[in-house]
Amino acid sequence: MPPDRALAGRDLTVRFAGAARAALDRIDVDLAAGSVLGVLGPSGSGKSTLIAALLGVIPELVPATAGGTVAWGDGAFAPPSLAAGRAAAAVVQQDPDGALVALAVADEIAFGLESDGLPAAEIDARVAAALASGPAAGLLPDAETLALSGGWRQRLAWAAALALRRPVLLLDEPFAHLDPQAASVASDAIRTARAAGTATLLVEHRADLVAGLADQLLVLDAAGRPLLRGPAAQVLAEAAERRGACGLRLPAAVLVAAALRRAGLLPEDAHPADAAALIAALGPRCQDPAVAAVTARALDQQPRAMATPGPVRVALGDATVRRGGTTILSGVDLTVCDGTILGIAGSNGAGKTTLGLLLAGGLRPSAGQRCAPPGPAPLVVPQNPALAFASGSLREEARRRGVDWAAAATRISAAGLPADPDRNPLRFSQGERRRLAVALAAAGGASRLILLDEPQAGLDGPSLAALTADLLALRRDGHAVVVVAHDLDWLASLADDLAILAAGRIALAGPVAEVVGRILDGTAPVPVPPGLALAAALGVVPLKDAP
């Protein structure tokens, strides 16, 4: 047994009743104290199932056939048990809506500490420490958890887990609801925990967030089997060479490094995992025009066909939205034209969703104007895509939207989903519902204005590529598309216009090249996303429209 072992799992296998294949197939896990193991894989590859299996949640709380053994610390290997997992590990669950158990912030942090039977004075001290620094810094102890936004709820879940000071931290997509600033704070919390000797297992879709944190990576394939394993930089480089076959969303630096290696501009043995390492590996070649050209292609920052805006689909004039005495949006002037994509970005609680719904007509302005020419109703794909469906079968849903079933079935199949006309849309998973909603939108129908709220959340690499292609196809067909998202790198590669919201106001809006320029100048109220930062460092002039 390695002297610093924090957690080990052997032959972990899970099969749910009625499933054609195992959700998790003979996975081994080794996690040393003070290290971070990132677990990556496409949707449905069993990443969250792995955490549940290690903890004994499967099969003790979630029925399934489970096999394999787990050893915590220097203990012996034994079948996973909830009692052992609970004693050794703190967990941040994927869904912060259901994962909070108390009604006040301090009570939420204290809950696990009370369960542990710690002295009351120690609980007071840990609650105070959790609120003084770290992800929940700034929250008031008596604040109601019900009143927190999704991002803050996730930050509170982080604080509650860290306060337990367990030797192992298991994180299931902990960045999913966080804006870039909050994700940075959470990343720092992982580094601090690692420095204190905590072992961390981090399950995440976004390899760019994992790359800077993980020492080792385990990549699962779509069938829940181990595909790649090893040092983070090496595994990411291998995944990049496989070009999408792993189903991952890879960091910009890894994609660029792979492209540069293939072009002979970077040594074969150079495997940088982040921008700083790539720039260091390139040295003086950073300014080489050939490097810039390869980088532009790898990051999809090539000159592209200029949008040909059609007539105005919707316009807001000095629009304000108030709710329950609180002003959520104020003084918004914005125009969306047919044949263009508008990206809306901003921090948690800035009013992005409200602005999207205002543009789509779901909300009416409390003051100011919303002007839209008469025409077919817009299509809205909300953050919870289940709310977009109002029929009991796919065929019925297509008919409701005025889409021919044959066209819908083609698009649904192209999105990698079964085009069963009698299947209820709610029987798809969360990520699949989002792809389904976009596929139905892409299939046509009457709607000319399409709003998507965080459509990229939780999507793996191939799904994101398919979504991007669908949205560009809608733009080409003359639809007006509005996309609300945290991921500025993705928005910048997709949108014609960008609007950055801050505290309910439009802080910056305009053509994407102009807004990106301001972001890179540091004059926009958002941090520079890694892809754009890398592009700028390697001499790529981002997103210059071709005439």
């Binding site: 869904d95 006040a104 039977g117 789509a360 779901g362 109703a377």
Partner: protein
């Protein structure tokens, strides 16, 4: 006098329930209602709007029940002190009073404090108390999902300006209230319940050790004074109004 013990307050609330429920005349409930309303608006600083909003479901229940008693030829719901309009008045005032007592308790008692007192002093199982508390969190989540579903449905209304102002307003109000949304909300509630159950177990809701009695409110002199005074007031109201 600042009563802090949620169990002492719970005992007083139960006492008030008993008095109001057994009282054969509407005057008892009316007096208790007036006294409690004055306490909530005065020392407790609860906004009137919040009270009225909280009383809405009770008012709906009171009026529908009263209507049954008022028009039913032979009510068989038990002897409640008469039939017809007298019974209707009694049922209305009693229901509103019970609603105000419940509402007053909820609005002025921290739920976490009550939960801790129930676990550490009343000996109730922590899994049940904390599970109930976690379930309370679902309600705003469901309300938000319903709001979002209705906004999405409003955006999808065919032609938003056709049919005149009132028709448009009715169509916008009713958008998203179809049966499909119930299935969607139910599915969301079940998903949340699963997550919450796992969260509680992972954080040791029923762990092997004894949980720490952290910030548990104790029965103190102010609580005793509050309980005695409330008992005396309830007794006085009962004696003066039952005759």
């Amino acid at each position: 006098m600042t009563p802090r013990d949620p169990l002492a307050r719970l005992a007083v609330a139960f006492g008030a329930f008993v008095v109001v429920t057994l009282a054969p005349r509407p005057a008892t409930s009316a007096v208790v209602f007036a006294l409690l309303l004055a306490l909530l608006l005065g020392p407790a600083c609860v906004p009137l709007r919040r009270i009225l909003r909280g009383l809405t479901p009770f008012a709906f229940f009171a009026l529908t029940s009263a209507w049954i008693y008022a028009v039913a030829p032979d009510p068989t719901y038990g002897a409640i002190g008469g039939t017809g309009w007298d019974a209707a008045l009694l049922v209305t005032v009693r229901t509103l009073c019970v609603g105000l007592i419940s509402l007053g308790y909820v609005l002025t008692t921290p739920a976490a404090g009550l939960a801790r007192a129930l676990v550490h002093r009343a000996g109730m199982p922590r899994r049940i108390v904390c599970g109930t508390l976690a379930a309370v969190q679902f309600l705003p989540g469901l309300a938000e999902e319903l709001r979002m579903a209705r906004l999405v449905a409003r955006a999808a209304l065919p032609d938003q300006d056709r049919g005149g102002r009132i028709i448009v307003a009715i169509r916008r109000w009713a958008a998203g209230l179809g049966p499909t949304i119930i299935v969607t909300l139910l599915a969301g509630a079940m998903r949340r319940a699963d997550t919450a159950a796992i969260a509680l177990e992972l954080r040791g809701v029923a762990g092997p050790g004894q949980p720490t009695p952290w910030r548990v409110a104790r029965f103190q002199r102010d609580d005793a004074a509050f309980a005695v005074l409330s008992g005396l007031v309830l007794a006085a109201v009962a004696i003066l109004t039952w005759r």
